[in-house]
Each structure stands twice: as C-alpha cells, then as structure tokens.
C-alpha cells in the first residue's frame, strides 16, 4: 500500500463535467450524481487508499472494505431502541439513510487487536524487533458528524495533533498516529435521527461543521428523479480529489434541501442528556441508582466495544513452543471485566455497581478533566447494543432528578 497523500496525479485526471470557471476551494459545495460517487470510490483505490465503507451484513450496517459503489447498502434504514436494532426498508435506492451501527471507525484507527512488537531470544538476552508494520491508508466513506467528534476525542487520548494541553501527556501512540494521519475522511450528513440518538445534547449536530476535520462531506439527496450528493470540501486533500471528479455547481435549491434535512434530523433526536451531568455525577458517587443499574447490567462490555471513544486495552505476550520467540499483542479491553483493575490480591472494582459507575462517570464526567471534553458524542450505540437496554441518558436523568 502506498502513501496516498499528494499522489493524486494528473494521469487520473478527467475533465470535470461542470462548474468550470469557478475554482473549488475549502468550503466550496458542489453536487455530483451516483456516477460521480462511483468514480470517487474508484479514484480512491487508484491512488492507493483502501476504501472502508458501509455494508449490510448479518442484519446490520457495518464498516468494511469496499471496492465499488455496488458494495454500499442500498435502500436500508434502521430502527433502533434500547437493546434493539433492526434493518428496515428505507427510501428506495438510497445509500446513507441508515444510522450508526455496531462498528465504528475506531476499529481501523485503533484495531481490536494488533501486534505491538516481537522479540527473539539471543544467548542470555533477547532482541526486540522494532520494525514498523506498514500502516494502511484508509479512506473512510460515510463518517457521521458524531463519529468525527469521536475521532477528535480519541486523537487526544492517543496524542494525535496535540494543539492544546489536554490529552495523553507527552506520549503519542505511534500506531494510531500513523493510521490517523493517513486516513482520508468522507463524511456523510444524517438525513434523520434515531430513537437512541442524542448528538445535539452533546454539542454535536447531525450535519458536519466545516472545521470538524473531514476531507469531503456528502449530503445525500435521496432518489426522486435524480440521486445526487451535495459535496462540501473540507481540506486541501479533499479539494485535490474533487477536482478529478465530475460535478455540477450547487444551487440554492440544493442548499435549502440540505438545510431542511438537518433541521428535520435535529428535531428527531430520540434521547437527551442533561447538560450539567458532569457535575451531577461528581456529587452522586454514592447514589442508590448505582445498585439499581447493577441489578440490570450484565457486565458484558458491549457498551464499551461499540463505543467510538472507549480506548481501554490490554496486552498479551505469547511465546512459541520452543520459548525462543515471543510477541506482544494489544487488544481492546473493558472496564467492565473484573480483572481490569486487578492488583496483587484482588480487583479494585469487584462489583458491577462500581464498574458501571466507573464507565459512566469516566465517560461523562472525569473525561472533561482528562481531555477537556465529554467522552460521549451522543451516538447512542451503548443504548442500542446493550442486551438489556440500559440507557445512559435515562440513568443520567434519574441520578440528576433524585440525587444531590
């Protein structure tokens, strides 16, 4: 896999179909059709990106490697509720009417498991193999606004692009930083919101803002006579790519249509987080609700696995049969497992009650001190994918209304 940046060579260039004479810049909006989107995916592959996008698999929309437009899910929407996710028929022919599913882009920037290093025995000692693995250049297609916010949050955790003092101290995670800096981001605005969505109460919005860190952002105009996508340029990389694609100029009808989509999605938010939850939780570490939620929580860790910001990990050393070679892999871990907090003699948080409290107070409260923002973006995954339908917004509401 080659580095993709800057390699959008002129050999791939085709004359853009329209809008000549008005040069595109960051912030420019244009409109392309399905063929334009198809060329975009082809172009990304040609210049060395591995496109990752939505696919319908096992009854859910997941993010996987895609090759062409035909891999995208067509005509799907979803119904989500606490503990419930169902794919249903959406607008015929649409690509992006579904909302966030069980996967998040985190699995490509911070893989569920990956090798940190290998080592080999040499005489009385050993040698660490520090060879850096080649990191793929991904092109993420279909990143939602809440997911862009989640990436920014993980950037702070892993020390990528540290423009402020909040974050992982002096260290950076080389693997994350390499993957993140290569990744190209094609965002998609939400045309609707689900019953477990609450991005607007976490400071987000169903439509991306220009400084949110995307290269291109799509707004899908679901098929009527035409199937079109308004494309906004978010970066120089995005501009270079768009210049090689066919598009037409944007009209006020297009921008109005996008704006009304955003208004509709905002008005549909199914859940809401109390705005002062950070301080509410700090005052209520001894609230009886923690016992109540512990009686329902299975400690299964689903919420942490689907969360796009949860970053906990563990390492495992495995050695070959002769004991001469060993390697260390890092895998996702969860604060819901008992041995997560183990120190000689026992776990610090043996009870489900304290583990749920750790997860929720970390996400909604302590995160602010650690990284300067909430750790929650309001995507609702933890509610949808909780097998018993525990709803973080409901727990927050009850603690707020009945606590100190």
């Amino acid at each position: 896999m080659t580095h993709a940046h800057g390699s959008t060579g002129s050999s791939h260039a085709k004359a853009p179909a329209g809008a000549k004479g008005s040069p595109i810049a960051i912030g420019t909006k244009v409109v392309m059709d399905e063929a334009g989107l198809a060329s975009l995916i082809t172009l990304l592959t040609k210049v060395g990106y591995q496109p990752i996008g939505p696919k319908a698999r096992d009854g859910a929309i997941v993010y996987e490697e895609i090759e062409s437009l035909s891999d995208l899910p067509v005509g799907f929407a979803d119904e989500q509720e606490g503990g419930k996710y169902r794919l249903v028929a959406g607008t015929k022919g649409s690509f992006f009417e579904y909302l966030v599913g069980p996967t998040s882009w985190k699995r490509y920037l911070f893989p569920p498991t990956h090798k940190l290093w290998g080592a080999e025995q040499k005489g009385n000692g050993f040698e660490i193999d520090k060879a850096k693995a080649d990191v793929p250049a991904y092109a993420f297609i279909g990143v939602r606004s809440c997911e862009l916010n989640a990436m920014k949050i993980q950037d702070k955790v892993f020390g990528f692009g540290r423009e402020d003092n909040n974050g992982a101290g002096i260290f950076s995670d080389p693997n994350y930083v390499a993957r993140r800096s290569k990744a190209l981001i094609i965002a998609v605005n939400c045309s609707r919101a689900g019953k477990t969505c609450f991005c607007t109460s976490m400071g987000g919005d169903p439509h991306v803002k220009e400084d949110q860190g995307f290269d291109l952002a799509l707004t899908e105009f679901a098929p009527q006579q035409t199937h079109e996508f308004m494309v906004e340029v978010g970066s120089e990389r995005g501009r270079l790519i768009l210049e090689l694609l066919p598009y037409r100029a944007v009209t006020s009808h297009d921008t109005d249509r996008a704006a009304s989509q955003a208004r509709k999605a905002r008005s549909e938010m199914g859940r809401k987080m109390p705005p002062d939850i950070k301080d509410v939780l700090k005052r209520n570490l001894d609230h009886k609700r923690w016992d109540d939620v512990a009686s329902r929580c299975l400690s299964c860790a689903n919420c942490t696995m689907v969360c796009p910001t949860c970053f906990c990990s563990t390492v495992q050393d495995s050695t070959n049969l002769t004991g001469e070679k060993t390697e260390r892999t890092r895998s996702w871990d969860s604060c819901f497992s008992v041995d997560f907090s183990y120190i000689h003699g026992g776990a610090i948080r043996p009870e489900t009650k304290s583990r749920y409290r750790q997860w929720m107070t970390h996400k909604l409260s302590n995160w602010h001190e650690q990284y300067g923002s909430s750790g929650c973006v309001g995507c609702g995954r933890c509610i949808t994918w909780c097998p018993v339908g525990i709803d973080i917004t409901e727990e927050a509401r009850v603690i707020k209304t009945t606590g100190k």
Partner: protein, 292 residues
C-alpha cells in the same frame, strides 16, 4: 553511592533513548541480583545500549521478563547514579517471581521511567519526614538519597519505618548506617515482635505522633499499603502538618505506563501518568470513595 556529589538536576521528563515508541522495552543486563528479605530481592541493571539512565525519585519502570510479561516496579536506587538502575521487588506474582529467578548476566526489558516524582524543591529550609511501611521503603529510598546528597538544604530529616516483624525490615543495614549519622533521625517499629527484638512494637503512626519534626514547617512523604498511608496522613495532620505538604505514592494496575490502556484509572487520574506520587489534598476526596 549514597554520598554521591550533588551534580544532577531534577528530571521531570521521561526520556526514552533513541526509541520513539514508549511500547518497546529496552534491554538491560542484570549485573547483580541479591536477596533482601525472604520474599524480597533487589537487582541492579545496566542498559545494553550504554545510554545513561535518567529517572527522578518516585518514578517507576515496567520490567519485562522475556516470554513472561511485565510489572510496574518503582526505582529504589540512587538517582545520581546514571549508569545503574536498581529495583527492589517483592515476589508475589508470575512476573515478579520470574524476575526473582533471573541470574546475573541475563536480560530484562525496561520501559520507563514513568510517572510523577517526590518533590524536594518545595521542602528547602523545612523538615523532611519519610514514613514508610514494609516494601514502601523501596520507592522512598531514591528521594532519601537525594535529600542526603543535598543535606544542607533541609533542617531535620526523619525516617519513620514500620515492618511486620524484625525479619521484614527492608534495607536494615542501610537504616543502621543512616541511624549512625548525627543528622538523621531513624525510627523503626514492628507490628509483631519476634526473637530477641527489643525495639519498638506498634504501628508506624505511633512514630509520627512522637517524631522530632516541626509540623508547621514540614514536608512529609509516605509510601506503604493504602490503609497505612491514610492513617499516617491522619496522624501527620493531627500533629499539624497541612494536607498540601503530604505526598503519597498510590498503586493501581499500571499496564502501559503512558496513559493509553486505562487500567490504572482512578477518578480523574491515570495513576501511571498523574501519579504514582500525589499531593494528598488533591486526592483526598477520591480516597474516601470505595471501589473508585
């Protein structure tokens, strides 16, 4: 070793020589390994790459045994010695037992140093009190060395130490040597007397209650089991040492050492990065919460 010339400045930064990744252990040779107590051993390590070792008192390293795993261990050696790294470990788990089984000439992986330091700069012109329990003396020893190296900067210097039994007194010969000096007050107590022990019996808090220091003008450093430290803080406070002049070293499940893995989270802190040394008043509320 203990009287080394005071040439080294305080290092707050953790510097990994020549390796961009904080994830890769750096191989060190075991030059000496020796028993301290029945379950406790020390080893001195030198880096195979020959680069100097820079750490500040209070910091810890992740020690890696080939094919076995890693454990966080505080540095127990002299911070003014840039060539040798000394760690004192109690063999209580898989990795620490594997460390114990190493022989001279074998290799250990080292990641670090990580974490915050025992601050001495704020203690100039004041009394210093070090209160340790059990193996908690090991993480304090580097700062004791440092205080001795700059002895003239401080007034009274007291080391108050509690062990379970006389057989469990760590660094006993060194404590005796320090006790023999005219400028250090060393007091030792045991929980339970055995053999012909004729010294003090009782909790280390008793030593705090009668220790010779001026509470209003003291900085205290304590390390030991969490419950012991809480009682020590209580006793210090009762004598009049303010909460913002008491430092303690916390222990949690440190795994990555750099604030990525989440295992050592405690309230708003990552103990590996924001600790292990904390000023008491900054964590007083967290210490009150069960299973935080």
């Amino acid at each position: 070793m203990t009287e080394a010339a005071p040439t080294k400045k305080k290092h707050h930064c953790t510097c990994h020589s020549g390796d961009a990744s904080p994830m890769h252990p750096r191989p060190f040779k075991v030059v000496k390994i020796w028993k301290e107590l029945s379950d406790t051993f020390s080893m001195s390590l030198v880096p195979e790459d020959g680069q100097p070792i820079v750490f500040a008192p209070g910091q810890f390293n992740m020690l890696y045994v080939f094919g076995v795993g890693e454990v966080p261990i505080s540095v127990s050696g002299d911070p003014t010695d840039l060539s040798t790294l000394v760690h004192t470990t109690r063999a209580v788990g898989n990795v620490s037992r594997a460390l114990d089984a190493l022989k001279e000439g074998m290799s250990v992986g080292v990641r670090g140093p990580f974490g915050t330091v025992w601050p001495l700069d704020i203690a100039e012109g004041k009394d210093l009190v070090f209160v340790a329990g059990g193996i908690g003396l090991a993480p304090l020893r580097p700062v004791i060395y440092q205080a001795m190296a700059y002895r003239h900067k401080y007034r009274n210097l007291a080391i108050l130490y509690g062990a379970r039994t006389p057989e469990d007194i760590l660094f006993d010969k060194e404590l005796l040597r320090w006790k023999a000096r005219f400028d250090i007050d060393v007091q030792v107590t045991v929980d339970r007397s055995t053999g012909d022990w004729a010294g003090r019996v009782g909790l280390v808090t008793k030593l705090v209650e009668c220790g010779g220091f001026d509470p209003a003008n003291t900085v205290a450093y304590t390390c030991g089991p969490e419950v012991m430290m809480l009682h020590v803080v209580d006793s210090l406070h009762k004598r009049g040492v303010p909460h913002d002049r008491i430092y303690l070293s916390m222990e949690r499940n440190m795994k990555c050492g750099v604030g990525f893995c989440g295992h050592c989270q405690w309230g708003t802190s990552f103990v590996c990065r924001d600790g292990p040394v904390f000023r008491f008043d900054t964590i007083a509320d967290d210490l009150k919460v069960r299973e935080l």
